[in-house]
Point group: C2
Chain length 576, copies 2
């Protein structure tokens, strides 16, 4: 069991809530007043775990919404996936003639002769080879990686072992991994866990700051990411009765900060203008150089980044959605997250930007925010009685609000007139209460939505919409020119598009132009794992994107401020 | 100070002699009788250091011949060497435009743009790049390695730093290293040290056995070789005012066992028939994968082996002597050492074999053997008075016998009739004494040459000559067909060819056919360090050698026994 902690222990996010059942705790100086005993949760003494230290053995109850969940990675359709194969690593079962005094080639050359090719040798694979050959009585399974540079023996195994690949989508919040049979292209298993780097903060900037401040923290952040991937690899292999040694290839995508922290690249220059990446192109590294546990000589293909704040996960999203945007039209691909990446595609050219949307839309840094798990409010509607109506995952009692519910809540509060065009909660409504002198919308008993929560959502949606509009201006286009508005990402799949339009997050386009394609980054990185052609295509896409750093442009601030409020027309259109 | 130890602490070689000045020692059980108090060294209590343990603090005097010397690597002519350049790594000083919000390429792409090339990134070099660029105000020196696969940034440095290469000849007995300026081709410095692996035994088989018996020993043997190379690199760089970080490329040659132990490859299959190498082809490894301290992304080029007992040091010797054997004639290249490698070259074809000659010829496992250092007898002649006459290095009092002296001693004892054709010392000669019931030839006061020493030399020279003769038979040639008999190797440079012929080590060819070319392996590995073409040529040479495993052929034993004695004709030709 792990407790959620979005702010890295700074006491600002309120996600790590526990109830001290038994035992003594001491408050961090100056935080005593922040006990949550007066929350609607009632008589229990709730505290933020990061603000107290135990002074004795304690029994604590973790608030349901503070429990770190095992994440569903299966956000795509449940259909069996078979990937197009053009793998970098091909395995061959071989039976070699035994070495004799007259046929005394080296073990490596004997293998190369049997394969009929000149092959380079990974050092670890070479170390393994003599033992493997003799233990297997001169039969073995050779894992050979090939690219345009040549061929390399990266490992060997007993004849008949599987040949597996691991695709990893290393997100800021969650890490999802997929185990692929590289001989059939079949996805064997999928698994997601929370990115353990959240202990240094839910957002990228917190982690970048931590890494810049202390080299030890940078190494710990790297180690946390590696440990997460190794844990996923282990569990996935275990689930299908394989061993991590059967993993002969790895592909990883992530945003640029995740990429840098994973590779141990410096991030100082990423965190301040002009926000420059240390490296952007796709890289093929020895998995062991990162500490990944795989077949000894396996490589990890690291997906190329576009720029400082548009990473490989956007490239894989573009790759995975190419069927939808290919051709000569005008389309937009957006992946909403803590950082939202956007590509405006017009006549085959890419204008790409990122928006610092923060975690609010996903339910992070929201007073009653929680993950999409049982008890989370996932839909908020205006009931026929003019009161707020909710849908809760699992049909249980509501304990918090997840991302898709957040956007619904804002849209509904506005539609109902509980909140005005500037985002202020009205006094006197039946669903509005006052807690500690501040107005909150009460979504369910104990689950409230505060004025601060609304502000967070306003900043997030304004940042995203500003980015879209500025890209359109740069391209000389209008909103209405967008033929397909492709919403990628696990979170985007659950958004209610009407709520998105109602809040001004999305432009008011005909609804059939919106496509919610789910975790496209995951699809893309799996395709890259399975196919060298897909890797080459991804490199072209990354190179093809013209990355625009919007946040420092003169127009940005003005445009952003204009988009903080809510569109009056959507309020008028609400059912009376 | 280090003490020589040729047998790996088994008490068999007697090279680690010390005098206990003060303190108590305990003998290893059953070795008490082996104190050397009765040696000609006289009244001092000499013991083999490996056979005693200290029971108190001790003061010891190390016998001069047991002191491990710093070895001269400068065995080639003292002339300044300038190598032909075609280096794998080229360094370029660059001044880049500073990154801005509109010119926001990644650091790596900015560098590639300035170089006008697509370059891959070494991970360690990528980690270093952002800091180096900003510390140097967007100027730096880029180390880029190129081969037919492409280009790779392997490191960066301040503008104007040197670009150095390290060539290493990792011998069984000594490790020699050479620091080369890769921009001028000039050899800047050279240094040799004893291979610290001698602690596991002077000969290959002892070390192979140690590595096979215990994985820990294998790792220690590897670590010892790495430590030796790192120490050489450090001292060489220090001597020229450079830093190990300036070393951007490394080339290493050694025999196959040294190669395997250095790379951590299994050696079990190397030590038993059919004596197969794990890997033979040239390899390019990241220096850091071996623990070598260089520029972070530097590679080490490991010279290809020919077979189980003919390693990369023979390939480099062939490469370095190509001027002498090129063309259509019949030539022989021999590198005498603990293991002696021989290639018979006939009409451009190579028949290659090795002979297990052991350390005797080099003064190892010889009762008064020592390195070629002050006090070593390096020449033994028959004086006009029919008595033995010696020449001592440095003109000092003789304290031992080095390699070139060993062969001279045997030749002279035979020529003088002190020793018969079968190698038996005669009784009654003025220079023959009896110690502990065994005859010894007294070369100087306290320096004797025993019957066992003579037997060791006989086995060594018979093994080498047998290999030569069997190769000739296989090629259908006669001794007299050899047009050039090229003796490579540091030791071979000091041999007296007449003594070699007199003892039957060499065939009795006209003396002008012999060429003593010195440490050709060192020359060859330096050429390979400096030139990609030389590496390609070496790979061709290694592939071109037809490796013959002689020791297990039926004729070998018979042929060998015939060559243990001494040629009667040379005795007759001695001056009366």
């Amino acid at each position: 069991m792990r407790i959620v902690g979005a702010c890295g222990g700074r006491g600002t996010c309120g996600t790590c809530v526990v109830h001290i059942v038994e035992g003594e705790v001491e408050h961090r100086q100056g935080t005593e007043h922040r006990d949550l005993a007066d929350t609607p949760a009632g008589h229990k003494r709730w505290v933020q775990a990061c603000l107290v230290s135990a002074r004795s053995d304690c029994t604590v109850e973790v608030a349901p919404r503070s429990l770190a969940p095992v994440v569903r990675a299966e956000l795509e359709s449940g259909e069996a996936e078979i990937l197009p194969l053009d793998p970098a690593v091909v395995s061959t079962d071989l039976a070699l003639p035994e070495a004799t005094l007259t046929d005394n080639l080296s073990d490596a050359d004997r293998l190369a002769r049997a394969l009929g090719a000149r092959i380079d040798l990974d050092l670890a694979a070479a170390r393994q080879l003599p033992g493997a050959l003799r233990a297997g009585r001169w039969s073995l399974r050779a894992h050979v990686r090939s690219d345009w540079r040549g061929q390399e023996l990266i490992g060997s195994a007993d004849v008949g072992r599987p040949t597996l690949g691991l695709a990893v989508d290393l997100g800021t919040t969650n890490a999802a991994a997929f185990l692929i049979d590289l001989e059939s292209g079949v996805r064997l298993a999928s698994l997601g866990i929370e990115n353990p780097q959240v202990a240094w903060g839910a957002d990228l900037i917190s982690r970048i700051n931590a890494a810049v401040k202390s080299e030890a923290a940078a190494l710990e952040l790297q180690a946390a990411a590696i440990a997460a991937i190794n844990a996923l690899a282990h569990d996935l292999c275990h689930a299908v009765g394989a061993a991590v040694n059967d993993i002969v290839d790895v592909a990883v995508c992530g945003n640029t900060a995740m990429h840098h922290l994973l590779l141990g690249l410096p991030v100082a220059q990423l965190g301040r203008a002009p926000f420059v990446a240390a490296a952007a192109r796709g890289m093929d590294l020895k998995a062991r150089d990162l500490g990944l546990t795989t077949c000894p000589g396996a490589y990890v293909h690291v997906v190329p980044n576009v720029g400082g704040f548009v990473g490989g996960d956007h490239v894989t999203a573009l790759l995975a959605t190419e069927e939808r945007w290919a051709g000569s039209g005008t389309h937009l691909v957006m992946d909403i997250g803590t950082n939202t990446e956007i590509s405006l595609i017009h006549r085959g050219e890419f204008l790409t930007a990122s928006a610092p949307s923060g975690p609010a839309l996903e339910g992070g840094h929201i007073s009653c925010g929680m993950r999409a798990a049982e008890g989370a409010i996932e839909r908020v509607r205006l009931g026929a009685d003019g009161r707020i109506a909710i849908e809760v995952i699992g049909g249980k009692e509501a304990i918090g609000l997840c991302g898709s519910g957040v956007l619904d809540a804002v849209a509904t509060l506005h539609r109902a007139g509980i909140m005005d065009d500037r985002g202020r909660l009205a006094a006197g409504h039946a669903d509005v209460a006052e807690i500690a002198g501040k107005r909150v919308a009460v979504l369910a008993p104990g689950v409230h939505f505060t004025q601060d929560d609304i502000r967070s959502v306003q900043l997030a949606k304004a940042a995203i919409r500003t980015a879209v509009d500025m890209l359109l201006v740069l391209a000389g286009l209008e909103e209405s020119d967008i033929e397909r508005f492709i919403i990628a990402g696990a979170f985007g799949a659950y958004i209610d598009v009407d709520s998105g339009v109602a809040t001004g997050l999305f432009p008011d386009l005909p609804r059939q132009r919106f496509f919610q394609v789910g975790n496209a980054a995951g699809v893309g990185v799996r395709r890259m794992l399975a196919s060298k052609q897909a890797r080459a295509r991804a490199e072209m896409l990354a190179q093809g994107c013209r990355y625009i750093e919007l946040s420092t442009m003169a127009e940005f601030q003005k445009c952003f401020l204009q988009r903080i409020g809510f569109p009056a027309n959507t309020r008028k259109r609400t059912p009376a």
